[in-house]
């Protein structure tokens, strides 16, 4: 059973550029959440996708956008990169309803994409 996968592993960009990060959820999961983790900090919630729509959003500017595809995979796009965008970007997947109809919020994280903005 494949876990959450993310690509690429590492990325180096310069200020002003745009970047796209990708995430494939764990098998059977339908919800994808994105987090930004700065060095020495906890993961900060960016947004969550379910049924191909953004359902929740954290305190991040519109430069951060995303998409979810019919196969539940997701992309995170960041435009006009700033030095402060350098961080580990984590994708976490979960499922809205277990087979028994009980909602669960357990999230499983992918290995992350390390973004460095120069």
């Amino acid at each position: 059973d494949a876990g959450v996968t993310q690509s690429p592993t590492h990325l180096i960009k310069t200020r002003g550029q745009q970047v796209t990060l990708r995430c494939s959820p764990k098998s059977g999961h339908d919800t994808v959440s994105w987090y930004q983790q700065a060095l020495g900090q906890g993961p900060q919630f960016i947004f969550q996708y379910y049924e191909e729509e953004e359902r929740q959003r954290g305190n991040f500017p519109d430069r951060f956008s995303g998409h979810q595809f019919p196969n539940y995979s997701s992309e995170l796009n960041v435009n006009a990169l700033l030095l402060g965008d350098s961080a580990l970007y984590l994708c976490a997947s979960s499922w809205r309803l277990a087979s028994g109809g009980v909602r669960t919020d357990t999230q499983y994280f992918g290995p992350g994409t390390r973004l460095t903005v120069l």
């Binding site: 959450v4 959440s33 987090y35 900090q41 906890g42 993961p43 900060q44 919630f45 969550q48 359902r55 929740q56 954290g58 984590l90 669960t104 919020d105 357990t106 999230q107 499983y108 994280f109 992918g110 290995p111 992350g112």
Partner: protein, 108 residues
């Protein structure tokens, strides 16, 4: 809304016990505990869904005091493999907000 974790860091010798606390100024509906090793993704430990619930995972257990709006993670007879940063997360409006983490270092 971000939960507050204490202590910020702990250094233990192998075999010693530790307690990590997580508190919130708002009502807690669920508490999620994760461990992250350096350079790796956070790994799910357990979720507590209601007040008074206690759970265990190997020698790691947790409690959830809904009235006090806090949860505690207990590490018993710590092993070298327990080293890492522990995060608690609380559910707010259908999203999980994580604390800043507690760094745990186990010495042999």
């Amino acid at each position: 809304q971000q939960p507050v974790q204490s202590p910020q860091a702990v250094i233990l010798r192998e075999g010693e016990d530790a307690v990590i606390n997580c508190s919130s100024s708002k009502a807690l509906y669920s508490v999620h505990w994760y461990r992250q090793k350096h350079g790796e993704a956070p790994v799910f430990l357990m979720i507590l869904l209601k007040g008074g619930e206690q759970k265990g995972h190997e020698k790691i257990s947790a409690s959830f005091n809904e009235k006090k709006q806090q949860s505690s993670l207990y590490l018993t007879a710590s092993q070298l493999s327990y080293s890492g940063t522990y995060f608690c997360g609380t559910k707010v409006d259908d999203k999980i907000i994580f604390g800043k983490g507690t760094r745990l270092h186990i010495l042999p």
